[in-house]
């Protein structure tokens, strides 16, 4: 089993390396030249060439890639072309904000989704189950920018309960924390809760059809214990994967939601970086998102391996 886990981790690292190559290749293909962009109206042929040399842009691509990779490995993400600040510092100032948003969303969505999914599976076929199915289907088909925009219009513009913009600087009390986070968390939750509910429900129902569940019923085990004690341990693998996939969807959703709410997170930094052709910032942010995705998926795989008694006790 340990070898399986090690193999999974190694595979994760290899994927990360391939991702870094892809990110570097794609960002190098972006149109425009950072040196020209930076110099603006001062761009003459000599100044551009000089700046390119000082930024290392005149080196061949593979050398630039290796230098960048070496920087990544040692924690040096380079300097922002736009602000001339170290990228690490830029990200460092934004990352806690993004993590807080993601953590708040996960903390709200995962328990809600698991509870709804499990109860829907327990009462499958009932009016409750059908309502949940219908609602999750409708919510999952609405894109998050629409949810976010609609939420702003209703709660911020019409009702004036919450602020349309979310800046973490205003947080001094718990109430303010809710005011700032309510709308972005709501928008993000809508989409991922629906997906997690559907996948949790399917995984549990799959187990409830197993003969050992019938056996448990014939032993006089109550319905709640059947689900939590008998079915759930066997559904952990698929549920962990569903949660990981949904949370990784957050990474994409965060970009849109942070932009709409003007939330100072990493995604906003990346979007601004693209607008300013600030390659080091874009590359570092992209790496960060991909790494987070890989961490989530790998964690889910490892949980699935650990939860399988056949692998745990060969």
């Amino acid at each position: 089993m340990l070898s399986l886990v090690a193999a999974r981790l190694a595979l994760g690292l290899v994927s990360l390396l391939l991702v870094s190559l892809a990110i570097f290749a794609i960002t190098s293909l972006l149109p425009g030249d950072a040196a020209e962009e930076l110099l603006g109206q001062y761009a003459t042929r000599e100044t551009v060439a000089g700046l390119r040399a000082s930024l290392g842009l005149d080196l061949p691509a593979h050398l630039r890639y290796l230098a960048w990779l070496k920087g990544l490995a040692t924690g040096d993400f380079g300097r922002s072309l736009a602000s001339n600040m170290p990228v690490a510092q830029l990200i460092g100032s934004r990352l806690p904000n993004s993590l807080m948003l993601a953590a708040a969303t996960a903390a709200v969505s995962v328990p809600i989704a698991l509870t709804i999914g499990i109860t829907a599976a327990m009462y499958r076929g009932s009016a409750y189950d059908r309502t949940v199915s219908m609602l999750t289907l409708s919510v999952v088909s609405v894109p998050e920018f629409l949810v976010a925009t609609a939420a702003v219009i209703v709660f911020a513009v019409q009702l004036r309960w919450l602020s349309a913009l979310s800046t973490t600087a205003d947080i001094t009390s718990v109430a303010q924390f809710f005011r700032v986070f309510a709308l972005p968390v709501f928008a993000l939750c809508c989409v991922i809760v629906a997906q997690m509910v559907r996948m949790t429900r399917a995984a549990i129902i799959d187990q409830l059809r197993a003969p050992y569940v019938e056996m448990a019923v014939l032993k006089g085990v109550g319905p709640l214990r059947v689900v939590l004690h008998h079915a759930l341990p066997n559904a952990i693998g698929p549920i962990a994967n569903a949660v990981a996939l949904s949370l990784s969807y957050l990474l994409g959703g965060v970009i849109i939601v942070e932009t709409i709410f003007n939330y100072p997170g990493v995604a906003k930094l990346m979007v601004d970086g693209v607008a300013q052709r600030d390659l080091p910032v874009v590359q570092a942010c992209a790496m960060l998102f991909c790494a987070a995705y890989l961490v989530l998926v790998t964690t889910a795989d490892i949980i699935a391996i650990l939860s399988n008694p056949r692998l745990r006790h060969p």
């Binding site: 448990a216 019923v217 006089g220 008694p309």
Partner: protein, 602 residues
């Protein structure tokens, strides 16, 4: 006489069919059971025996409901219990042992947690007391290492052990009634004996009453005091075991008894018939193949045999003996590591992909489970039409005519063609499965346990059909089974496999005569006989578990009653030919084997 422990009156259970109508699947069942008595419910699938058994726990399968009648256990009206009272009732007063222990144990929980769960739920004593009681039951059921087996997970113990562990689970809360639902049907005969013995001991020892559901009269003869015969949800006959076996009144009971004692079919093919399939020095298995041609996990070792044109070879052995692998190797699904498979004198390429369509056409495989082998979304016509198109290039009306002819050949009405497999009975599906193989017009059919999922009577009809086809079409068959009766009744020649080795091979006549290889002897003497008291007289059997660990020179060493330590475990056994013209793989000579060949000795 005191009041009976269990009293069932006019029980009716209804099921919703595909059209949404409710039809009764059990009608007017009434019987009683005294304390300490064992009652057998016997019948074929669809007879309602499991439905009645489950109703005793106040339970009906999804889609079914208990529609009428009454069930009383002691003073309790079972059908009148509330949901929570029913939960308290189940396990504590009536418990259940399911057919497939492997599927009925939760794979994620330890055995001890599941065995003691009932005692904990019903608030009987502390965890420590429950575990102590569980260990005592493990010991009573003759389980190995009773103090530590509970810490294992279900996949870590064998099927026969799991079935006994499930009995321990059923008995932990000291119920008044235990319902055993075909508890040994999925086991090998050699495993079945010890499980039956353990069940019987525990049931008699604890004075618990039992309802034993089975389709196997010989097993029931060992276990039950009385037998209730069921058919299509209706009671046919009820009476003491001895009477039912000796003087069955109802014609249906008589037909069940007749099917349990199989009649030999077919005449042996002429010995001078040319060989169709020759297998020489076949070794196959899984994993990397080393320089000598041995795979990491060998399943078959050095197998030789011949199937003559128009004849039938039976392959018999316990689960894990490599008999299904043999069919896969011949069909090309698993390429052999070493040795050759020759069809009409020409060597076949080991791998499926390298064989020509003509070679593929000549060997067809019929799988054990028609349920999974037939595409549930395709009509019977398209299931049969595809191989006709593929192998013979026949399309349109000509193909439809051939489909009709095939259905006729397997004795199914032409109207079956438009239906999907789900709308057919088990026996009909197996006939379609057979027709699918026949569609290719093969020379050789490999049948892998084709009757083991079927009832005795339905299975016997399939065997008759195959025997007829064999003579009509001049087919050769290889018939794989774990059931000695089946193989003996349909095959001209028999090969016995043990742990991937051919330990005995001979004609059908030879396999019915002593002396045998010790393993063949064990198999023959382990098949329950249709008389009471056979189990008690039958000596103890060393089941497959005894052979765990490193493989000695003779794979059967650890289980063999005639093993000679120092010789058998060190030197590979030689191949010898017995006077009855059978080849065996054994160190013992004919006289010693003859002396040991007392099939049902104590």
């Amino acid at each position: 006489m005191s009041a009976p422990l269990l009293e069932v009156r006019n029980l009716e259970v209804r099921a919703r069919n595909a059209a949404g109508q409710e039809v009764p699947i059990v009608r007017d069942a009434s019987f009683t059971l005294a304390k300490g008595e064992v009652l057998a419910l016997i019948g074929e699938s669809g007879s309602g025996k499991t439905t009645i058994a489950l109703a005793l726990l106040g339970y009906a399968k999804p889609g079914c409901r208990i529609a009428g009648g009454s069930i009383r256990l002691g003073e309790t009206d079972v059908l009148g219990l509330s949901k929570s009272a029913l939960r308290d009732f189940r396990g504590r007063r009536v418990s259940y042992v399911a057919q497939s222990a492997a599927a009925s144990f939760n794979p994620s929980l330890t055995i001890m947690a599941q065995v003691t769960e009932m005692a904990m739920l019903h608030g009987i004593g502390s965890a420590a007391e429950a575990e102590k009681r569980a260990i005592a039951l493990f010991r009573a059921l003759a389980l190995p290492d009773p103090t530590r087996i509970g810490a294992r997970y279900p996949h870590q113990v064998s099927g026969g052990q799991l079935q006994r562990l499930m009995a321990a689970m059923a008995l932990i809360a000291e119920p008044e009634l235990v319902v055993l639902d075909e508890p040994t049907t999925a086991l090998d005969v050699t495993t079945q004996i010890e499980v039956l013995r353990a069940f019987k001991q525990v049931v008699k020892g604890s004075g618990v009453s039992a309802v034993y559901v089975s389709h196997d009269l010989a097993v029931v003869a060992q276990m039950a005091d009385r037998i209730l015969v069921l058919r299509n949800g209706e009671m046919q006959e009820i009476g003491p075991t001895g009477e039912i076996l000796a003087a069955p009144k109802h014609p249906y009971t008589q037909s069940l008894l007749a099917a349990a004692a199989p009649t030999p079919r077919g005449a042996a093919a002429a010995p001078e018939a040319p060989p169709l399939l020759e297998v020489r020095g076949l070794t196959a298995g899984y994993g990397r193949i080393d320089a000598q041609g041995n795979p990491t996990l060998p399943v078959l070792r050095d197998i030789d045999f011949t199937i003559r044109r128009g004849s039938s070879l039976g392959v018999i052995g316990e689960s894990g003996s490599g008999k299904s692998t043999l069919a896969r190797v011949i069909a090309g699904l698993l390429p052999a590591a070493r040795g050759e498979v020759m069809l009409d004198g020409a060597a076949l390429p080991p791998a499926l992909a390298r064989r020509t369509p003509a070679q593929l056409r000549r060997i067809q495989l019929v799988f054990q489970s028609a349920d999974t082998a037939l595409n549930p979304r395709a009509s019977v016509a398209s299931i049969l039409g595809r191989p006709i198109e593929f192998f013979h290039g026949v399309k349109g009306a000509a193909r439809d005519a051939r489909v009709k002819r095939l259905l006729d050949l397997v004795q199914l009405p032409a109207s079956v063609a438009d239906r999907q497999p789900g709308a057919l009975s088990g026996g009909q599906k197996q006939r379609v499965n057979l027709a699918r193989a026949l569609a290719a017009e093969p020379d050789l059919i490999l049948c892998d346990e084709v009757t083991s999922a079927l009832d005795t009577v339905v299975g016997a009809a399939i065997l008759d059909l195959m025997d007829g086809l064999r003579r009509e079409l001049g087919l050769s068959t290889m018939f794989i089974s774990h059931d000695l009766h089946t193989v003996r009744s349909v095959c001209d020649e028999v090969m016995v496999l043990y742990a991937g080795e051919r330990v005995e091979a001979g004609s059908r006549r030879a396999i019915q005569e002593a002396p045998w290889h010790p393993y063949t002897n064990l198999l023959i003497s382990s098949v329950p006989e249709l008389r009471q008291g056979w189990l008690e007289r039958r000596g103890s059997v060393r089941g497959p578990e005894a052979a765990a660990g490193a493989r000695p020179a003779c794979a059967f060493f650890a289980r063999c009653g005639l093993a000679m330590p120092g010789l058998c475990d060190v030197t590979p056994p030689p191949r010898r030919t017995l006077a009855k013209a059978a080849e065996i793989l054994c160190h013992r000579d004919e006289a010693a084997l003859m002396q040991a060949s007392i099939p049902a000795g104590p």
